[in-house]
C-alpha cells in the first residue's frame, strides 16, 4: 500500500490502542462536562497543528461530522 502524506491515515497507527484509549478517557477524570469540553478543544487544536496539512484535516472533518447532520458550510467555500 502506498501512503500519500496528503491523505488522512485511517489504518491503525497507534502501537497500543487500548493503552491510548484508557489514557484518553482518564485524561478527563474528575473534570466537569465544561472542563472536559475545554480539554477536548485544546487537544484538537494541538493535534491539528501537529498534522498541519489542511487537506488532511478536512478529510478528518468529513469523517468526524455525523453523516446525517448535513454538510457544513465552511468559510473556505465562500
Amino acid at each position: 500500500m502506498t501512503v500519500h502524506s496528503d491523505n488522512l491515515q485511517t489504518d491503525l497507527r497507534i502501537n497500543s490502542p487500548d493503552d491510548f484509549y484508557q489514557e484518553l478517557i482518564e485524561l478527563h477524570a474528575g473534570l466537569s462536562d465544561d472542563e472536559s469540553q475545554k480539554l477536548n478543544a485544546r487537544l484538537i487544536l494541538i493535534l491539528a497543528n501537529h498534522i498541519g496539512d489542511i487537506t488532511v484535516l478536512r478529510q478528518a472533518f468529513q469523517y468526524a461530522r455525523p453523516r446525517d447532520a448535513g454538510s457544513h458550510t465552511a468559510f473556505t467555500n465562500q
Binding site: D34, Q37, K38, A41, L45, I46, N49, Q78
Partner: protein, 559 residues
C-alpha cells in the same frame, strides 16, 4: 450642525464643539429650472465620494458631489488608515498631510487576561523602506477635511453641501437626479452616478436594491477620550482583561491627545443604562486607572454587521464604499476598503468617458471590488466570530486558543483580534495578463505595487511617486543599456510612459539600494506594465512591445 448619524452616539465634552461646517450655496437651477448635465455626479461626501472626485479631476473628469449634511464625519468613526490608503492619498495629494498629523504605528499587541506580556505581536510593515508607514491613526474628519480642501482648490470638482438626493432615474443614456435643499428642489443629470452615500445608502433604497449578510449579536461601547497619557501608540487589544472581564477591549492613540477606548459589552444589555455617564466613567476608570485626568470626545454604542450588495454596477449607477459593502471595524477594512473602490473606479470611468476604453471596463470594477469586498467581509467576520463566539463550542475553542497561546507559539497565530487591512490582490481579474515567465508571486498581476526608495535625477524619491494616473512601464535595464523600446509604446491612443530603472548613474530613475529589483524579482530585461491605480497588469522577463500592447488592450477591456 446637522449630525450625519445622530442616533449613533452622543457628543460629550469638547466634541460638542462642532467640526468645521460648510456653507450652503443655493444652486441656480432651483430658480432657473435648468437641468445641467455633468459627466459624473457623486452622492455622498464621505471619504469615498471625496476621494473619487479628486481622482476623477486628476484624470480630467468634471464631477459634482451632492452631500446631505453640512460637515465632515462626526462621532467615533474611522481612525486607522492603512498603508495602501496612504499610498492612494499620496497620489491624490493629501497623503503627506495625513502622515504629518497622524499617529504612526506598525505594531499591534494582543493581551490575554491580566498578563502584562502580549501573547501575540504583529508588525504590519515588515519592510520599513517605504514612504508610508504600515498604519496611521487619524480621526476620520481630518481625512475628510483634507480631501475637501483639495476639492475646494479644484476647478474640476465641486461639493454642494446640504444637497440631498431624493430620487434617481437610471435611464439607458443618463441618470437624472432630484435634489432637495433647504431652499427648494432641482434636477441635474450625469453620464455616471457614483453612489457613495454610506451604509444606509438612500440610493440603494431608491433603486430597490438589497443589502445582505450578517448582523453580529454584540454591543461595543466606544469612548474617545482626551487625556495626557504616555501609553504606547501601538494597537493594544485585550481578551478578558481584569477591567472588562469576559469581554474584549482595545486602546489606540489618535492625534490631539485623544485615545480610542473600546469595550465589548455583550448582547443582552440595557443600552441606555450602559450609556449613562456614571457607567461609562466606571469602565474608563477601570481601564486607565484612577489618576489620569480625561475628558470625553464622543461616546457611542455600536452593533456591527457585515453586509454587501450582490452587484455594485447597476447600469449607470455604481456603488462604492459602505453603500456597497459594510464590515465590522475590527481590521479597519471599512474606509480603507472603500478608498480602494474609489482608486479602482475613477480611472475606469475616466477612460470610458474619454473613449480610451469600452464601457465593459466598468464591469471589471464589479469583478475586482466584489472580490475585494468578499475578502474584507471574510476577514472581518472571522475576527468578529472570534471575539463573539456564537455557540458554546466556539467559545470553548476560542478560549482554548487564548489559553494555549500563553505557552504554545502556534496558538498565537489563531488568536484573532482583527486582521488589519491589506490590499486585496486582484488575482481573478479579467484585466490581468497572467505570467508566462518565472517570477516570485509577490508582485504578480493584480497586486498593488509596493514602494521602494529610488533616486530621481540624483534626488531621493520613492517608486510609487513615479507610478499611477496613466499606464506606465517599468523597464529594468542592464548597466549602460540604451533601451529603445519606449518609442514603440509612446504612440497610439493609450501611450505608455516607460520608466527605465537603472542600478546606478545620476540621471533618470536609479534603484541604488536594489530594493525595486528585489521586491519586483527583476533582472535586466524585466518589464512591468502598471495600471493607473498602481496595480500590476502584466510582466515579462524580456521586453516585447507587441506583448505589452496586447496586455494593455486586455487591461482596458478591449481584448
Amino acid at each position: 450642525m446637522a449630525a450625519k448619524y445622530p442616533d449613533l452616539g452622543s457628543a460629550a465634552g469638547k466634541a460638542k464643539q462642532a467640526r468645521q461646517t460648510y456653507e450652503f450655496i443655493k444652486p441656480a437651477a432651483i430658480d432657473s429650472g435648468e437641468v445641467a448635465h455633468l459627466p459624473v455626479i457623486i452622492v455622498g461626501g464621505g471619504p469615498v465620494g471625496l476621494a473619487a472626485a479628486i481622482d476623477l479631476a486628476g484624470h480630467g473628469i468634471q464631477s459634482l458631489i451632492l452631500e446631505r449634511s453640512n460637515t465632515v464625519s462626526d462621532g467615533s468613526r474611522a481612525i486607522c488608515w492603512a498603508k495602501r490608503t496612504l499610498d492612494i492619498c499620496d497620489r491624490l495629494g493629501t497623503g503627506e498631510r495625513m502622515l504629518d498629523k497622524g499617529v504612526t504605528w506598525d505594531v499591534g499587541k494582543v493581551f490575554v487576561g491580566a498578563d502584562r506580556d502580549p501573547v501575540y505581536t504583529f508588525d504590519l510593515l515588515p519592510d520599513k523602506e517605504q514612504k508610508m508607514p504600515g498604519f496611521i491613526n487619524l480621526q476620520q474628519f481630518y481625512t475628510e477635511e483634507y480631501f475637501v480642501a483639495e476639492i475646494e482648490a479644484m476647478d474640476r470638482a465641486e461639493i454642494r453641501w446640504q444637497n440631498e438626493v431624493i430620487a434617481i432615474d437610471n435611464e439607458p443614456d443618463k441618470v437624472t437626479l432630484t435634489v432637495k435643499t433647504p431652499e427648494g428642489e432641482y434636477h441635474v443629470s450625469c453620464d455616471y452616478l457614483i453612489a457613495a452615500d454610506g451604509h444606509r445608502s438612500p440610493s440603494r433604497a431608491l433603486l430597490g436594491l438589497g443589502f445582505e449578510g450578517r448582523i453580529f449579536e454584540d454591543n461595543f461601547l466606544i469612548a474617545d477620550v482626551r487625556m495626557k497619557a504616555d501609553f504606547p501608540a501601538e494597537r493594544r487589544f485585550w481578551f478578558d482583561p481584569p477591567f472588562n472581564p469576559g469581554q474584549t477591549s482595545l486602546m489606540h492613540k489618535q492625534p490631539d491627545d485623544v485615545w480610542r477606548l473600546d469595550f465589548q459589552l455583550g448582547w443582552d444589555i440595557d443600552r441606555t443604562e450602559a450609556m449613562q455617564p456614571e457607567n461609562v466613567d466606571k469602565k474608563v476608570r477601570a481601564f486607565i486607572g484612577p489618576d489620569v485626568e480625561f475628558d470625553y470626545e464622543w461616546v457611542s454604542i455600536y452593533t456591527f454587521s457585515c453586509l454587501k450588495m450582490k452587484n455594485f454596477v447597476h447600469n449607470r449607477v455604481i456603488f462604492a464604499g459602505d453603500a456597497a459593502h459594510l464590515v465590522s471595524p475590527f481590521g479597519a477594512r471599512g474606509a480603507n476598503g472603500g478608498l480602494q473602490d474609489a482608486d479602482n473606479l475613477a480611472w475606469k470611468i475616466a477612460y470610458v468617458l474619454q473613449g480610451l476604453a469600452p464601457p465593459e471596463l466598468l464591469n471589471t470594477y464589479d469583478d475586482e471590488r466584489i472580490c475585494a469586498a468578499n475578502e474584507n467581509i471574510l476577514n472581518s467576520s472571522r475576527s468578529t466570530d472570534f471575539m463573539t463566539p456564537k455557540t458554546k463550542v466556539s467559545r470553548f475553542f476560542r478560549d482554548a486558543c487564548l489559553e494555549l497561546s500563553r505557552e504554545l507559539p502556534f496558538a498565537r497565530a489563531l488568536v484573532n483580534s482583527g486582521r488589519l487591512s491589506v490590499p486585496c490582490v486582484l488575482d481573478q481579474s479579467p484585466l490581468n495578463t497572467s505570467d508566462t515567465d518565472d517570477f516570485s508571486p509577490k508582485q504578480r498581476p493584480g497586486a498593488a505595487c509596493m514602494d521602494a526608495p529610488v533616486q530621481l535625477d540624483g534626488k531621493d524619491s520613492w517608486l510609487l511617486e513615479q507610478l499611477g494616473w496613466t499606464f506606465k512601464g517599468l523597464y529594468f535595464a542592464a548597466e549602460d543599456e540604451d533601451f529603445r523600446g519606449a518609442e514603440a509604446l509612446a504612440q497610439g491612443s493609450l501611450p505608455v510612459e516607460v520608466i527605465v530603472v537603472r542600478t546606478r548613474g545620476s540621471a533618470g530613475l536609479v534603484d541604488q539600494q536594489g530594493l525595486v529589483a528585489k521586491h519586483y524579482d527583476a533582472r535586466p530585461g524585466t518589464f512591468y506594465l502598471i495600471r493607473p491605480d498602481q496595480h500590476v497588469a502584466g510582466r515579462w522577463r524580456q521586453f516585447d512591445a507587441q506583448q505589452v500592447q496586447q496586455a494593455l488592450r486586455k487591461a482596458t477591456a478591449q481584448a
